[in-house]
């Protein structure tokens, strides 16, 4: 934010200040709004910045997550940039709860610290943080009272994608590409909430089948209030 420029947006809705501000908005800039003050700076991935050092900018904006390694992991991975024998001996002194906290910045080791993991129940992360990519999907098919199925013939595929966006369980996935693409519902993740069926741009006419039926006036009345 060194080259940040400040714009003060004061005055009523139609004041020249505001018009000037709106015309100045650019998708290559970042705007930080605090009260009446808007702070503008270059977006990290704007053309000016990405031209020369693409990787460097990306690395700065998304810092690598620090690693917390056990003695076995340190021995197996032998991370570069640390005094391995010294670290291993320090960890051995601490005991089985020893961990190496390893922070890298732009490829170099910025901090390597041995500490004793305070957890008693080690299967739960510090702060009960959940690692999203390691989470196993849970079978929630038992929640459904109706079966949902997308008919590939009716689905508009990647042209639409509305059902995939609105699905609260992320249970709808795009299959294939281009003209032949279609959406599919993951039967283990679908809780049967009807949201896709209600939101479907084709009003689910011949697209989403509920219990094998394409159109059920009673059900529509229930969900649309018709």
């Amino acid at each position: 934010m060194n080259d940040a420029k400040r714009i003060t947006a004061k005055g009523s809705q139609d004041s020249p200040d505001r018009a000037q501000l709106l015309s100045a908005l650019s998708r290559h800039k970042e705007y930080l709004v605090s009260g009446q003050l808007v702070t503008m700076s270059d977006r990290e991935l704007s053309p000016e910045k990405t031209a020369g050092n693409k990787e460097k900018v990306g690395a700065k904006h998304h810092p690598a997550a620090p690693q917390t390694l056990t003695l076995e992991e340190v021995a197996r991975e032998s991370p570069e940039g640390i005094d391995l024998p010294k670290v291993l001996s320090e960890m051995a002194d601490v005991g089985p709860q020893a961990r190496l906290f390893l922070v890298r910045s732009e490829g170099k080791v910025a901090r390597a610290e041995v500490f004793e993991d305070p957890r008693v129940c080690t299967e739960i992360h510090r702060g009960a943080v959940v690692e999203n990519l390691k989470e196993k999907p849970v079978d929630v098919s038992g929640w459904r009272t109706h079966e949902f199925f997308i008919d590939t013939k009716g689905c508009l595929g990647e042209e639409c994608g509305r059902c995939a966006i609105v699905c609260p369980e992320n249970a709808i996935h795009l299959m294939g590409r281009g003209a032949g693409s279609f959406h599919e519902i993951d039967p283990l993740a679908c809780k049967g909430c009807f949201i896709c069926w209600v939101e479907c741009v084709r009003t689910a006419a011949d697209c989403i089948l509920v219990d094998g039926k394409t159109f059920d006036p009673a059900m529509r009345a229930k969900h649309f209030g018709e």
Binding site: P63, A64, R119, R126, A128
Partner: protein, 673 residues
Amino acid sequence: MNVLIRGRFAVVATVLSGNSAAAWGFRLSRVQCYPYYPITPSTSCSEQISRWVNDGAMDTVTINAESEHSAASQIIAAGKSVRAGTATSSKGLLYMIEVLENAAGASIPCGLFIGNRATGAPINIWGDHSDAYAMRDSGVIQLFAADAQEALDNVIQGYRIAEDLSVRLPFAVNLRGFTGTHAYEGVEIPEPADVDGYLFPFVPLYPLFATEKPVTYGAMLSGNFYRRHKRNQMAAISNVPEIVLKAGREFGERFGRPYGLFEWVGDEKAQLVIALMGESASAGEAVTHHLQGKKGIPGVALLKLRLFSPFPAREIARALAKAGTKALVVFEEGLHHGAVFPPLAQRIATAIHLHLGADAPKVASVIGGLGGSEVRQQHFQLMFNLADNLAEGRPYRTEPYWLDIEEDPIFAESEKEVAPALWKKWGEVWKRQARKEQYFRPLPKDTEEIRIYSRAGQGAITSAVGFTGAGIQCGHQLLTVPAFGSERRGAIITTDTLVNERGKRKIRSFNRAWDVVILYDDTILSSPAHNVLEGLKEGGVLLVNTSRLRSAKIREILGASESRVRVFTVPASEVAQGLGLSHLNMAMLGALHRVYEKIPFEKALTYYEKHVPRPREASLEAIQQGFQQTADRQAASAKKERRFVVSNDFLDWRPQDHSLDLWPSALEEIQLG
């Protein structure tokens, strides 16, 4: 600015209030996000930080939150990726507690500075520990500071402790409202480079935006996982005492001020101990030093707790066992409604009974200092006497004693002195107490004290703070404590300054015996609510800003014609008006140097030349003229009263004009209809 040499540490002492010192703590810790919602008495900490951010002195994102609840939520959100902090007090803290449990539960090491204040109802803006006690079960590390220097140091160490890999919890630094947060004293500000060497840059354990390892904070967990997580959280907080010791030791090595879990002031072998936390300890220290080694008094000590949560139970029990303590009086400024003892006494009693069993000293609890009540040296004389009675095996109360409740005193001779219902319950205890004269010998008066009576808005605090800085430059220890209340502009307020001449030990408690009393306005002489001679020492000085009264007349008004008080007058309003200044405080500052010679005027001037408020030249000239024109009798005949001219602009001003100025386009719209 004053360079003190302490060992190999060359440090610079600057005059700071407790709030500014805490703000320096955040600045030196390079806090990256500071959301806040201001509340008395911690407001000026946040004000200072937003000023620095605006000036570019701090590279920090400040957020004007819409409530303390939001500010706390924002430090939690920010604390997942960067170093975050905020300041609050009283109800603001209570409003934050709801979310602060999330900070502790999610293991987010963010920091809070708390200007401790009473919690209503009734509304009370002054200092006690009610708010800190309310948050004690939220899983936040609680450190208590006794002065501005400790507040600064504790904020820096707080981040070090909180971010330690075996801890990773939020922390709060507590400082008593007003007597701590608004007291001005000499504070050594560490060098930023040294602090950078002490404090690692912030590294999150689980950054929120690491694309290769996305995480969820605050997921819903069922009992099985929840209880196992809480077990982990308790394991982490139990590591804190060890880390506090380590961080405090390293801080001492680097900055010359070591810190521990608590401070033991007084005799090593102390039969009688008073345990307490925070700023009120200053009066206790003075009394402990006074009683030490006196005839008829066993070893005495003060146990000043720094770490309250998690409670260092084992270490405190060990210290008391080592000292051979027989009786412990726990003094505290807060309540625990419905419990046997208030929180600190309860924690100490549990700790010593668990760790020392039958050898545990007897514990009595005393409640005082509530809602800004002054904790005076006399209170500690009482409490040491009480501890002596406990040690002798006299009966004592199994519920808290109270300070300064006339109907329920600690010592009472007869039934008539106390509330009737209480005599039934505690009469036997009262009857068998012994008031021992050796505890009540006159207290030493090591300090000289100056009181200013002024009208709010006259700039008395500014001049007293300037005087404090000049005194510190001359190598003395000074402390200025202004009185704050609900007074509007123009009301009569007091500002007190304490001078500890070449004091080796820091003294932070007033004797309330004034060497100099200053009136910024001669109309204060006739105020029915203020007796300006009260507490003024025999042979002390009364300095009055007046152009119309002679010192003889002032004596007559006060009914002090025969008194040995020396009365000086200075036409400060005239001086200020002659120089075109809007405030007369600089002239009064010069006059103060004339009547109080311990801080030499010539030396003080070198400080004022650098630090005097704008307009600098006129202010310096006012200081000079105030010094020269101070006299103990009016030289010429009394002049006509002169007042500042009140302009028409001032009289014509209306509140709504201000808003129209700010919104010119809105005004046009109104005019167009």
